[in-house]
């Protein structure tokens, strides 16, 4: 919309050009602020340990070495196993992918019901679900552990998927609900007259419409689940630990020697999938937000 700067672009006088420059400089300064930590992490990961001990942390590396990256991926010790992040990476994938898919699908269904099939009390149910977004996760740790034990899911990947789905539902439902309320109710009515039922309407009509909001939800959920540490550390056991736990084991050891370059390389590796998601889907993210989820 706001193409205020384009108006009269032809009449761009000196002040216009100056304004433009100030704009880009401002944007650049902010970009520096946002990039600084990444820069520090990246340069550190490319330095040798000696250089880190002796040089400035914010300086560029003198000799670039990728050893730390190799170590972090496949050699760093996270306990007695020195296989790096690799095995944990796949655990995270196994947890995050199904959890994102299930919570998104459930959120879509719930949002569809709340927005398009309103029944008495639907709004109350929705608000109750929404409140679930705000519960501090530390609160649920202990009772959840007991419950998972009772369900026989303790320490398993399905257990972790389950936990992430349950506590992701509030947000996914909220996103879809806010998107679906902008779709005219007539669509459901038309399909009803056409003879389609609840699931048919969802599957054939609403789901194909939902791409923008699916992108938003998937980004949000994937980020949350991939980066989760608390649930990962509490509800896993040997063999099911996600990458954040491994990363923590590398970065946060208390009484050992610290290899900062490996730490940083590991940190970046652990963040790569989420970064990738943001870079690839970032454009759709704004679009999806614009498409409806922004409202209240």
């Amino acid at each position: 919309m706001t193409d205020m700067t384009v108006t009269n672009a032809r009449s761009g006088g000196l002040s216009k050009i100056a304004l433009r420059w100030i704009l880009y400089i401002l944007l650049g300064i902010f970009a520096l602020y946002y990039l600084m930590p990444l820069f520090v992490m990246l340069t550190t990961s490319l330095k040798s340990l000696d250089e880190i001990r002796t040089g400035s942390l914010v300086a560029l590396p003198r000799d670039v070495t990728f050893d730390a990256w190799r170590t972090a991926w496949s050699g760093a010790c996270t306990g007695i196993q020195c296989e790096g992040l690799q095995p944990y990476f796949w655990n995270s994938v196994l947890i995050a992918v199904p959890a994102v898919m299930i919570s998104t699908l459930l959120g879509a269904m719930n949002g569809y019901v709340v927005a398009q099939w309103r029944f008495k009390g639907a709004n109350i149910i929705f608000s109750l679900m929404l409140f679930g977004c705000f519960i501090p996760f530390q609160v649920v740790l202990l009772p959840m552990a007991t419950t998972l034990g009772k369900l026989g899911l303790a320490g398993t990947i399905p257990g972790l998927i389950f936990v992430h789905v349950v506590y992701g539902l509030g947000f996914t439902t909220l996103f879809f609900r806010n998107y679906y309320v902008t779709i005219p109710q007539e669509l459901v009515k038309a399909a009803k007259v056409d003879g389609a039922g609840f699931f048919r309407i969802f599957w054939s009509i609403f789901l194909p419409l939902s791409l923008p909001i699916i992108v938003v939800t998937v980004i949000w959920q994937f980020t949350q689940i991939w980066n989760d540490f608390l649930f990962g550390v509490s509800f896993s056991q040997a063999g099911t630990q996600p990458i954040t736990v491994a990363l923590n084991n590398i970065v946060n050891s208390t009484t050992g020697v610290k290899e900062y370059n490996v730490d940083m390389a590991a940190a970046i590796i652990a963040a790569l999938p989420t970064l990738l998601v943001y870079v690839v889907a970032g454009k759709y993210f704004i679009r999806g937000l614009t498409a409806g989820s922004v409202k209240g």
């Binding site: 005219p184 007539e186 669509l187 009515k189 038309a190 399909a191 009803k192 007259v193 056409d194 003879g195 389609a196 048919r200 054939s204 009509i205 194909p208 419409l209």
Partner: protein, 365 residues
């Protein structure tokens, strides 16, 4: 023959708000029922109730002789065209049209045959692979119709199907719907805001206001003998002139006296209606006021009127003057020489005059 649609004592509340109050309508097979009324009067709600898309609060609805009050929309044997068309945005035109059949498990061959038939009828064959987003308003409208037509239902329901179109297309589509009705001899319930549409399409018009039916009748009845002030004012464009007047008996005839600013009252003589109360509101359509010399007949009387404004509109020219404290519009021929500020002799044709009681608004003659 049993009525195709029979609505008895229908009530519909949203929460504690009464939206529809005691609606009774029945239509015969082949009828084209048009629902008109101001925005928010409950037209769409009534249609939704008929379709079963909204639960009703009281009364009953039967379609083709069967009580449908509790039946779900898909089993009511109706087809509906929505105001916003409600096309499925992600499906192609062909899929939009065949979706209902697919859901119902109609076999592919029949689907294809029906699709071809309907597409030919609506002249949308070349659009079948497009998405609704790639269609113009008129094309969308035809697709929405197509979705209804493949059904062959007992009853068609249309909710303002033409309101999104521009004037030109609307006229074309109107003719299209009319032909369709005649060809299929289908029964239809049609909601519209547009009086011309109502007048040209309907075999029966229902005028509603605030959830209450004001009048049911043929287009001519509604137009010529509106049941009350509301209907008189609502139907017809430009609207009927409604002029406060006094009456006095004069022999067998009635004299109608209308105040004029800065001039003597205008007196008209009505030989058809007698026994009117002293105060009435006189209803006269613009086309019943013409330039003197352009209208003749028993009930035509001439008087000079001061012209306030002249609006040429192509085929006709409208002239506004002041009578009885109201602006009065007359429809003159296109070549009139009337000019604002000058007096013009005008012919008042009382053959189709209406009278209303000022307090209740009810028709008096």
């Amino acid at each position: 023959m049993a009525p195709i649609l029979d609505i008895k004592n229908l009530k519909k509340n949203y929460g504690s708000t009464e939206i529809l109050k005691d609606i009774n309508v029945s239509i015969e097979p082949g009828d084209f029922l048009v629902l008109v009324g101001p925005s928010g009067c409950g037209k769409s709600t009534l249609l939704n109730c008929i379709a079963g898309l909204e639960p009703i609060t009281g009364g009953s609805i039967s379609i083709a002789g069967q009580d449908m009050t509790e039946v779900s929309p898909k089993d009511r044997n109706i087809a509906m065209v929505f105001q916003s068309y409600a096309l499925y945005p992600t499906m192609s035109v062909a899929k939009n049209i065949t979706f209902g059949m697919k859901v119902r498990g109609v076999d592919q061959a029949t689907q294809d045959k029906k699709l071809q038939e309907v597409a030919a009828q609506l002249q949308i064959e070349q659009l079948l692979n497009r998405r609704p987003g790639q269609l113009s308003g008129g094309q969308r409208q035809r697709v929405a119709m197509g979705r209804a037509l493949v059904r062959d239902p007992a009853l068609f329901l249309f909710d303002e199907p033409l309101s999104n179109l521009d004037a030109k297309l609307r006229v074309e589509m109107r003719t299209e719907i009319k032909k369709l009705h005649q060809n299929l001899n289908a029964s239809m319930v049609y909601v519209t805001h547009d009086q011309i549409e109502a007048m040209t399409l309907a075999t029966k018009i229902v005028v509603m206001k605030g959830g209450v039916i004001q009048q049911i009748g043929s287009p001519a009845e509604i137009y010529n003998r509106p049941a009350n002030l509301f209907v008189a004012d609502f139907m017809g464009s430009p609207a009927m002139n409604l002029i406060p007047a006094k009456t006095r008996a004069n022999g067998g005839a009635t004299e109608i006296v209308i105040d004029r600013p800065a001039a003597e009252p205008l007196v008209l003589k009505d030989t058809q209606n007698a026994n009117l109360p002293a105060d009435v509101i006189l209803g006269l359509r613009p086309e019943d006021i013409a330039e003197a010399g352009y209208r003749s007949g028993d009930n035509v009387q001439t008087a000079d009127c001061m012209v306030e404004m002249v609006e040429p509109a192509g085929a006709d020219t409208y002239v506004v003057s002041h009578l009885g404290g109201k602006q009065v519009t007359a429809r003159l021929h296109a070549e009139t020489t009337a000019t604002p500020g000058a007096a013009l002799p005008m012919a008042f044709d009382l053959s189709k005059v209406s009278y209303f009681a000022p307090e209740t608004g009810a028709r008096l003659n």
